[in-house]
Amino acid sequence: MIDMHVTLPGGLHPLTLNNPVMTASGTFGYGVEFTPYGDLTRLGGIVVKGLSLAPRRGNPMPRVAETPCGMLNAVGLQNDGVEYFVRTTLPKLPWREVPIVANLYACDPGEFGELAAVLAAEEGVAALEVNISCPNVKEGGVIFGQDPRQAAKVTEAVKMRAGSKPVIVKLSPNVTDIAHMARAVEDAGADVLSCINTLTGMGVDINTRKPLLANVVGGLSGPAIKPVALRCVWQVAKAVSIPVIGIGGITSAEDVLEFLLVGAHAVQVGTANFIRPDFVFRLVDELAALCERMGIEQWDDFRGTLKV
């Protein structure tokens, strides 16, 4: 039987997960919403909904729409703010048994640094994940994650204040060259990369002649994007020497292994949590069973062994 634990190597602060299956930010609430449906401590790790310094009301409705094998969302980072999270939510989470990763959302590097400082002080936070798919309001609204220089700045700002917490930078697929972005962020000090965030997409209703999302454009996620995500993870894993967490369209144990095969150390499951709320708990079991069946005895024997 395989030991399911995974350690993401990374200089001073390796992050050890119970298994390679984490939940993706924004799709698993703060974890507490899922306690009726499974035992949180059986997960590899939990990435909570994006946190900002001040509470945010988020975008107007409608915010979500179903698409073929996927969905669009433009929630707009509604959250109660980082203070509320550390005060009220974090204490309810079994953070000694399962790594809790805080996902950071801000609109300029300074804010990112402040957020990191607040979270770095929390014992219950295992790592920080930096969402760079947000606009830099101070620099004309360009998306951090679409400009290597800006992405590097954010990474540095977070690293500076993150203390001993590993810093994961979450890459956007909406770029010409994701390997280039990955290297820029690695050079700026990221300990781990996660990819991908959503693809920019759109839906419309021909009867009302209105967009399906009040925000007009939104993020595409779900099985539809899995081929793009696999390609990104493969390109990124080849380009950097820090560990990579694969995200995008995972709905089965086979999908998890596909991401490991192209070089990911772990994965995050997002949209699939909406298929049924106990989805990710079942997935952990299925993954163990699949490894058994396939004779995989160590993650190291399998990870990145794609024959090209």
């Binding site: 109660d80 779900g222 909406f274």
Partner: protein, 289 residues
């Protein structure tokens, strides 16, 4: 509130309602009974047949009509792709079901209570009427566009005082809206309670009457839902300053966990200020989604 659970339930049967020739669009779906400790009228379940391909990822929310010793019953109308696929379920098929979800309608046995239902919004009231300990304190006004036989109206009418209003044209609609206003004033005068469920334009009308006449009113919202458990933030509605938790007053709360039943004055319909409710605004779609 009772703890929800996610289970696989087998379809006992799917019974078309009010077939008028043509394709059936109204169904009672009977599933084997889930092992839930308790539920309350107004609560709902998320349903996703195990056999659905991943082209349609989300489950769909439906009010619980009844949970008996033998079965869980929901009542649904085909309005789009998901409900069309639900209509293809066959006896023996397996459905992923999680629930009971959300809060419930206020149940005040001694208070004269008026249920206002628009179209398929009648569904949660079946359970309400059947579990109410003093049904003589219950009344219903039901507006519908399709023939009455399409809806489970009889099962309510036999328990309580219920009136139905067939909307066949714009005049019927204005008349129904007038009736609702009059009835809501009557219930205010009796210190009564009003409960409403139906499409959004209909709820908007009820809400504005509630505020105008000052009658205690609850609305059950029908929002698009992806997760049903409070995680995706796709189903939110906007609260007013009356919202009990000041931190979220004027903010957004999840309909699936904080609702689907809300006190009329504690939430607002985003576009309400832009377009005050009129007969022309609540219109043809009032009782059909």
């Amino acid at each position: 509130m009772n703890t929800p659970a996610c289970t696989d339930l087998t379809v006992l049967d799917l019974v078309p309602f009010g077939q008028t020739g043509g394709e059936a669009r109204f169904f009672a779906l009977r599933l084997e009974r889930p092992q839930w400790a308790d539920w309350k009228p107004g609560q709902f379940v998320m349903l996703r047949p195990a056999g659905w391909a991943l082209d349609m990822l989300w489950a769909r929310p439906f009010s619980i009509c009844r949970i008996s010793a033998r079965d869980l019953v929901i009542f649904f109308q085909v309005v789009g792709r998901g409900t069309a696929r639900l209509a293809q379920l066959r006896t023996g098929d397996v459905v992923h079901v999680w629930g009971p979800l959300g809060n419930a309608f206020a149940m005040e046995p001694d208070t004269p209570t008026l249920m206002l239902a628009g179209g398929i919004g009648i569904a949660p009231f079946i359970g309400y009427a059947h579990t109410h300990p003093k049904p003589w304190n219950l009344w219903m006004d039901f507006g519908h566009r399709m023939p009455l036989g399409c809806y489970p109206f009889e099962s309510i009418n036999e328990k309580i005082m219920a009136d139905s209003h067939h909307e066949e044209g714009p005049e019927d609609l204005s008349r129904f809206i007038e009736t609702m206003g009059r009835r809501m004033r009557e219930f205010r005068d009796q210190n009564g309670l009003v409960l409403a469920c139906g499409p959004t334009p209909f709820l908007r009308t009820v809400r504005s009457f509630a505020l105008e006449y000052g009658v205690r009113t609850q609305l059950s919202l029908e929002t698009r839902m992806a997760c049903g458990v409070g995680a995706c933030l796709g189903c939110v509605c906007r609260t007013t300053e009356q919202w009990p938790d000041p931190a979220r007053a004027g903010g957004n709360v999840q309909t699936c966990t904080q609702g689907p039943v809300f006190w009329a004055e504690q939430i607002t319909f985003d576009d309400e200020t832009a377009a005050p409710p009129t007969a022309a605004d609540a219109p043809v779609q009032a009782c059909e989604r």
